[in-house]
Assembly symmetry: C2
Homo-oligomer: 321 residues x 2
């Protein structure tokens, strides 16, 4: 490939599964992650080292992390909420820990049950523990492009929280559009400002497709040089504020568009679609992926026989434009 | 508004309804179109003057065209397949006729049951009739960005068919991504070439969201100066090649993004969402619109009570990023 390299980070087995009512069996999780490992991702967010009481869906974090077959070239990251979680994660030999807090005070209290300052203090302790190892540290800033309770989030607030974590030595920051409030011109401005102020930070964009704009927002981020995106297989991961709306941007749709536009994602789209086709069987319902239904752009169709026999009243499709 | 003007053209009552199994009552159609007329569209494609046997869903074209309340400033256009349809349309005082054929031979034969040359000859006759009046003429070129049977369509083919219609004096051309095969870099290149070669033609883009790229493709078209887009309320209009996949780009999602990005669409988004909410009642099923489910970006939510009482095991949402 000669296209510009773009890094794709899969979050379905963490951000997706944590929202599912049906427990995905540990062996099935491991088999899926092993499938994903063959797809060529830059990073896979495997699971979350949270209290099993808080997120029963991911109660098998240790077993999963220990038993997956890790591929050279893929970074295996896990979500870690506190020092206890960090110790559990480190004991499994993770490549990276991903920390999370919200830029919005209301969302942080709703999502994590504490103030932002309490979250920051807790994550500072986690960073202190992890920095004693060679494990990388990323921080995900939720509601960076809007809060469903507070509305607009000032760009300066996002940059301010990024600064506080950069000062603690994290290697990367993920700007999360937690509930699909981002729009292209906002994304472009925020990404440009973040990259300008923090040239040494690895910047990831985490889009949700709640209002249909995830791929448009991706273009806006690419335009200002962002090259790292979270995405969820099948579009798994709902939005608690919009029942029935889609959640995370769908990995196969993201990769499909990027490859068509000439980017080198490193990801095997055919393998991705095969893995995505397994999801409904694992979670017990259909997934939002449009690409899984429609097939790739050049997955062609035969002409319907009725088109050849000239019977005007038996038209299969009429005047579709 | 000081933003750049973008023209929004509604196609739900034609391109959407023609695909519906349930007949929408004539009075209900008229009431919906009258609602849409208050929304501020640049153009509304009202119906199709096709054989009622071919498209029973639109058998009431005359009644609808005669009885809607037309708003100053909105162009009322109709699809016309042949001279008979043109005569019917002209008798109703339409502002514009919209002609349709495919750039792909296979799709033209499937969709219209004749060769492209037969279609062109038929449409040339229509143009001959309509040019005797002051009614405007637009031609919609289907499969301009890919054919579900033939695959890629050469840009030169699209420009060639555009040239043939430009030579006949049509005032506008619509480049249709009939089955959602367009991708951003392709859209940018095709739109730039079309605008450069035909500076006097009104150029419309007609996107389908079959593979999730409609809004991203819209950004690519805007980037090269295209300012006119077809869209379908609620995202109505399916894709016969991808059962269950979404069809036309959803008007409210398009307008929502454009307004956030500072464009002046002339369209009242609140009125649009109210009209879209009526669709399931008219057609008997849910519509693809994500915005109808999720609400506008700044339609805010109250903090859940559980967020305030500090009970860690009763979290409503946990570690959503």
């Amino acid at each position: 490939m000669t296209g510009k390299r773009v890094y794709i980070q899969e979050v379905a087995t963490r951000d997706g599964f944590q929202n599912e009512a049906q427990f995905v069996d540990t062996d099935a999780k491991i088999a899926l992650i092993d499938d994903l490992s063959t797809c060529g991702y830059a990073k896979i967010e495997v699971t979350s080292f949270t209290s099993p009481k808080a997120i029963p869906a991911l109660c098998d974090a240790e077993a999963v992390m220990h038993r997956i077959a890790r591929r050279e070239g893929t970074v295996y990251t896990v979500l870690v909420p506190n020092v206890r979680g960090a110790e559990r994660a480190l004991s499994c030999g993770v490549d990276e820990v991903n920390l999370v807090m919200s830029v919005s005070e209301s969302h942080n209290r709703t999502n994590l049950r504490m103030s932002r300052e309490q979250s920051f203090a807790q994550l500072r302790d986690v960073i202190g523990v992890v920095k004693q190892t060679k494990v990388a540290i990323n921080v995900s800033l939720s509601t960076a492009m809007g809060c469903p309770m507070e509305g607009d989030i000032a760009q300066e607030d996002v940059l301010g929280w990024t600064q506080r974590f950069a000062d603690l030595g994290v290697h990367g920051v993920t700007l999360c559009d937690t509930t699909g409030m981002a729009y292209p011109s906002q994304v472009g401005a925020l990404c440009a400002a973040t990259r300008e102020r923090f040239p040494a930070l690895e910047v990831t964009l985490h889009f949700h497709n709640t209002r249909g704009m995830a791929l448009a927002n991706t273009l806006a981020a690419l335009d200002v040089g962002v090259d790292r995106f979270d995405a969820s297989l099948g579009g798994l991961g709902g939005c608690p504020y919009a029942p029935g709306a889609t959640g995370n941007v769908c990995t196969e749709e993201l990769v499909h568009m990027l490859e068509l536009d000439g980017y080198d994602t490193g990801v095997d789209l055919s393998a991705l679609l095969s893995a995505s086709a397994l999801l409904p069987g694992l979670i017990g319902h259909d997934v939002p992926s449009q690409l899984l239904k429609a097939g790739r752009r050049l997955d062609l169709h035969a002409m319907p026989c009725a088109a050849c026999d000239g019977q005007p009243e038996q038209r299969a499709f009429v005047q579709e434009n």
